[in-house]
């Protein structure tokens, strides 16, 4: 088996030009495959990073996202009083009542308006979301019309530099800092004091309350306590689950599009591989006859030709992955359908994605090589030897 396979692999080198062209065709397919899925991966990772495992977000019963949720002001102390909510050293419950509204700001790239989320947060927000770090300036002071801006938002929209004022909600707000949030979607947002945002946007209540639990395992009893309280019409969700679900619509759209395009395209590339392999079999008819005369079985011939086309395709797969790699980390943005606002995220190529690309290439090669390999095995020995 080893001998004949190495014969086939070496034959590939004899016809370098053809082999390279076929491999490049497959490389393009794999590159498209990896790049589109990298968008889906990046978007999902950004949203999932927004959720901490020991945090829970409380929304109105039946609300699918913060934008359509409402939590009344008197509900907050009830939530805070639950024993599952973690407390800081001085005994304050770690809960952040929040409000998200969307404002329109021009993008830096094309000057077109885009929807930017503005989040009003409670004074404990920085303890509830411990991934938040100030990278420039300082935190906003509760009670003052000050805001801080996510790291990705500063680069993406106009007028979001520290020291400048922005106008929304019929007043102007001073930008005093820039924050990072471990690549989470918060980095596309603007944060300020929730108690000032409510009157500015004519809202009478919060939209959600995010709490830090004493323990991730405390979620179930937290949920039970919350739903059992007849005063509340609220529903908690693990923050991580909530954000994973938010990413669902967009990732599905991108995945479906990516898979649809690459599947169809791969059929075209497979036809190319088939052509190449049929030609390879035709050129080597005499050699195949000789091998068979020497006693190599039909199965060995099929195996060897399959190995050849698979190796060819894998070569293409590697090239495709290399072609796709430079987009890793590139930042782009799209609209989060669940909140109707723009989320900046980075293309994200994971080892798993590359492996999937290679597997996909291998499958293309094997499928494209199957018929030619069978044909090679079926050639009658006597006739093959007679060929010039």
């Amino acid at each position: 088996m080893g001998l004949i396979t190495s014969y086939n692999l070496r034959s590939m080198l004899v016809r370098r030009g053809t082999a390279a062209m076929t491999a490049m065709g497959i490389a393009m397919v794999v590159a498209v495959f990896v790049m589109t899925l990298a968008i889906a991966q990046g978007f999902r990772a950004t949203l999932v990073a927004s959720g901490a495992p020991d945090n829970a977000i409380v929304l109105r019963k039946g609300a699918t996202s913060e934008t359509v949720s409402a939590v009344l002001k008197p509900d907050l102390p009830i939530i805070e009083s639950l024993p599952q909510v973690a407390r800081d050293r001085s005994g304050h419950p770690l809960a952040s009542p929040e409000l998200v509204v969307i404002i329109s700001l021009p993008r830096q790239s094309d000057n077109r308006p885009a929807n930017v989320p503005v989040r009003g947060v409670g004074p404990r927000a920085f303890d509830v979301r411990d991934t938040i770090r100030i990278v420039e300036g300082r935190r906003f002071t509760p009670g003052l019309r000050e805001v801080i801006v996510g790291r990705l938002a500063t680069g993406r929209f106009q007028g979001l530099a520290v020291g400048r004022d922005i106008r929304f909600g019929s007043t102007s707000w001073k930008i005093v800092g820039v924050f990072a949030a471990g690549d989470a979607s918060f980095e596309s947002e603007v944060w300020g004091d929730v108690d000032l945002m409510m009157p500015a946007f004519q809202r009478g209540g919060y939209q959600s309350v995010t709490v830090k639990l004493t323990d991730p395992a405390a979620f179930d009893s937290f949920q039970a306590a919350l739903t059992a309280d007849p005063r509340l019409a609220l529903k908690p969700a693990r923050e991580r689950d909530y954000y994973a679900e938010q990413s669902q619509t967009m990732t599905t759209v991108i995945r479906v599009l990516g898979t649809f395009v690459t599947l169809i395209l791969s059929v075209g590339a497979m036809f190319g591989a088939m052509n190449t392999m049929y030609a390879a079999v035709a050129y080597r008819t005499r050699e195949i006859g000789t091998l068979r005369a020497l006693g190599f079985s039909r199965a060995a011939i099929v195996f060897a030709f399959l190995a050849e086309s698979t190796a060819l395709a894998l070569l293409g797969g590697v090239a495709g992955c290399l072609l796709a790699l430079p987009v890793h980390g590139l930042s782009t943005g799209t609209t989060n359908m669940a909140s109707f606002s723009e989320v900046a995220f980075k293309f994200r190529i994971t080892p798993g994605l590359l492996a999937a690309g290679l597997l996909f290439a291998g499958l293309m090669g094997a499928a494209g090589g199957l018929l030619p390999a069978l044909r090679a095995a079926r050639i009658p020995v006597a006739r093959a030897l007679r060929e010039i």
């Binding site: 329109s104 052509n275 190449t276 035709a282």
Partner: protein, 383 residues
Amino acid sequence: MKFVALVLKSARRSKRRTALTVLSVAIAVFLFSALRAVLDGFNGAAAASSATRIMTIRSTSMIFNMPVSHGETIRSMPGVRDVTWANWFGGIYKDPKNFFANIAVDPESYLRMYPEIDVPPDERRAFLEDRTGCIVGDGLARRFGWTVGDRIVLQPGIPYYGRQDYPFTIRGIYRTRGHAVDNQTMFFHWKYVDERSLVKGQVGWYVTLIANPDQAAQMARTIDQKFTNTPYETKTDTEGAFLAQFTAMFGNLNLLLGSIAAAVVITTLFVAGNTMAMSVRERTTEIAVMRTLGFQRRTIFGIVAGEGLLMAVAGGLLGVAIAKVLVNGENINTGGFVPPFGVSGANMAVGVVLSAFIGIAAGVIPATMASRLKIVDALRRVA
């Protein structure tokens, strides 16, 4: 042209290879046309918008509302012919997955200002008379199997519409006469929704019909100036600019689909070029014999390049035909996220031209190889 027979003959030489090449070009052209059609759907909505309709939203963002009194103020301005308003209801039909646009409108003025919404006169009358009536697009009606007279129930998706369900009766099914309105939308009475809303008199956006399309930008400024320094400042834009924002929300769609389309073309170039090169290599001896018999270099070039062109264009025609049949809004349910689209005549023409380009580009190198063949070497070669 007398060599056409020769080109056809050589294309038939290896039927399987020709078929595979034609099919791979067909697939590429199919994909290309389909992607173009989707993009056109996005861009077409903005392009086909009316020049005399301008839209006003809250300056902060679309999700904020304005008081209904703005409507009378706008109506009283000179140069304004008509005003209507609407509100995004965001209702859920059974399951959030069944997303479609459902909009509360002032029915009489809305239908008057959007002649694109084509409702039979009797259904129109029934809709206007029934406070809980609604009209739905024919695409939406097909999607859920609705007919006129059906009762449907929407759960409110936005808190200030309360928690109670809203029942509606379908009074009409409209067809669209233009890209500005899609066939996947449900319209109902703004009054019905407003009565039950926790915040009264809310309007999401105003549409103003202006007398002179050349004054659209100026009118937009006049409207916005009227409301500066009120608690409800506005932002007015032409319908085209407004719709273009929705397309922009998807991020750089043009670039994404454009790069995929480019990858499709390049892949096919590799496949088709490879096939042509193989076919030339196989025919080396044959070509040498033809040259010996006195065929000119450029004739050989023409025959080989012609074969590539023939295969590619055959694939192109097949590809656009498949695209035309398969790709249209009827067959593909995008849940309302993508505007309606279909493969247009222009898409098909571009597809065929593209296939011709693939044929020529893929054929040039093999054809040059064939025409530069040294007769003596080629004749000496075995196999």
